[in-house]
């Protein structure tokens, strides 16, 4: 298990390869469909410092407010491919070093990871109780009123947040490999 402290440098991220298990520590930001459209279309300046060198996590959490403080109750990854039209540009625009999500992403993002020096980290879909335990503190939340709880940009501090590299900065994607193999089996089964 490789432990990474956020924010992280390009050099450190370039060392990571598909299959590496990575545990994250520090501050990350949640963002999904509305947030990506916002970053892509309006390029807001107020989040630049926040995002520089860190990670954007595709997640819409279940949260609870206890004594004026937000608590993460459940926080697994959402399907990343929905952000494919935006992700590559958002990565470069905001100088992000990693994306966390599930299911992997497409060619455009893979090319951006290589060019910019970033990785796609896979969290286990549905393991929301377990991942919420890695969230030690909610620091802030942006666009809550406008986007709603699942879509807001939550700024969280994590400790030992577990992920696996499934797309790296060298053009490798586990998702492409598995799909290539399963396509061959499916073709055989279908053509009987």
């Amino acid at each position: 298990m490789i432990s990474l402290k956020l924010p992280v440098s390009e050099e450190e991220v370039r060392k990571l390869k598909v299959g590496d298990e990575v545990s994250l520590n520090g501050i990350m930001v949640l963002g999904r469909d509305n947030a990506h459209a916002w970053m892509y279309e309006e390029k807001p300046n107020e989040i630049r410092n926040l995002l520089k060198g860190t990670v954007i996590y595709h997640c819409g959490p279940v949260v609870k407010k206890v004594d004026d403080e937000w608590i993460f109750v459940a926080a697994g990854p959402t399907t990343s491919i929905r952000e494919e039209p935006y992700q590559g540009d958002v990565l470069k625009e905001y100088d992000l070093r990693a994306v966390i999500g599930k299911g992997g992403m497409g060619d455009k993002t893979l090319a951006a990871l290589k060019e910019h020096g970033a990785v796609y980290l896979h969290a286990i879909g549905g393991t929301a109780a377990l991942l919420a335990k890695a969230v030690v503190k909610v620091h802030d939340v942006l666009k809550l009123e406008e986007f709603g709880i699942p879509e807001a940009m939550w700024v969280i501090e994590v400790k030992d947040f577990p992920t696996v590299v499934t797309m790296d900065s060298h053009g490798q994607s586990l998702h492409q490999v598995i799909k290539g193999k399963s396509n061959i089996v499916a073709d055989k089964l279908i053509s009987g």
Partner: protein, 295 residues
């Protein structure tokens, strides 16, 4: 005996039903995943993913927190005694949904499709989705499934014949559609999935039948021998695809395949595939005047 609804009692019972569905993975799903875990190569990513999923399920049950943050579309199949007001039951379910959202058993999911605004309490047009039927028993049977967006997005509907798949208007054609849909889904629907298959009907009925299969016990056998054979063949062949848990590769791509059918028009032959994620959250409430029970 006259059947009476105590609205407060039913409300609390539905909140408890939602809590159970959201936080407790059914025993048959857990044992299917354990079987999957034991079939994977020791130390493989597939095995460690399944281990984490099982650990998460246990943690959610103990802490009474949602197994998955996407508490999904809430789908109810409700059977009521003769003469029960459906509007009354519906109202209770909507209120219980709001309460369960406040208690963080459900994420506030429902978004107005026109304005884009989240209602904040899971209420909305057709939300939660309730399908009513009537029976002669003096009790209400209420089944609830929570189906997340990832799995819904990879669910699919085909129309036979399908030229691209060379799938004809027969059982073999149906088989080909399912292989194609699960292969296209890869890990995106949170594999290993449970496949609900609806053969025939119109587009809406076909999907309704498919989704209803999600409530079946993974270990049951279809009473129709043709459909039972198809379930077995699909289960075996889908697990040859090598997609594995979360699409990381492995032997465990689906946990079960369940098939149902409805009559169709001569001109239409729909194949509806409801992909349910491994977090196959569902629970049942039995409500009578004397007793409330869950299974």
């Amino acid at each position: 005996m006259k059947f009476e609804i105590d609205e407060k009692k039913l409300h609390d019972a539905v909140v408890e039903l939602i809590r159970r569905a959201s936080t407790q993975l059914p025993a048959d799903v857990i044992s299917a995943m354990e079987k999957g875990r034991d079939s994977e190569e020791p130390g493989s990513p597939a095995q460690s993913v399944l281990k984490l999923m099982l650990e998460n399920a246990q943690m959610a049950r103990e802490d009474e927190t949602p197994i998955c943050q996407d508490t999904g579309t809430n789908i109810y199949y409700v059977t009521v005694p003769v003469g029960v007001s459906l509007r009354k039951v519906e109202k209770v379910i909507v209120e219980a949904t709001k309460t369960a959202t406040e208690k963080a058993y459900l994420r506030p999911n429902m978004v107005d499709s026109i304005s884009g605004k989240n209602t904040g309490d899971n209420s909305g047009v057709m939300s939660p989705f309730i399908h009513f039927e009537e029976w002669d028993e003096p009790q209400i049977n209420m089944q609830l499934a929570l189906k997340g967006g990832g799995s819904e997005n990879v669910s699919a509907q085909y129309k036979l014949p399908d030229n691209k798949l060379k799938a004809g208007r027969n059982f073999d054609g149906v088989y080909k559609c399912v292989i194609d849909a699960v292969n296209k889904a890869q890990g995106l629907g949170c594999a290993p999935g449970i496949i609900g298959l609806g053969i025939g009907g119109d587009r809406a009925i076909g999907m309704l039948i498919a989704k209803k299969q999600i409530f079946r016990n993974i270990d049951d056998t279809n009473p129709d021998s043709e459909m039972a054979k198809l379930e077995e063949k699909l289960y075996k062949d889908l697990n040859k695809l090598g997609i594995g848990p979360m699409g990381f590769g492995g032997n465990t791509t689906v946990l079960g395949v369940k098939v149902g059918a409805a009559h169709r028009l001569p001109a239409s032959f729909f194949v509806s595939i409801a992909y349910m994620c491994w977090a196959d959250r569902h629970a049942t409430l039995n409500y009578s005047t004397e007793e409330v029970s869950y299974d």
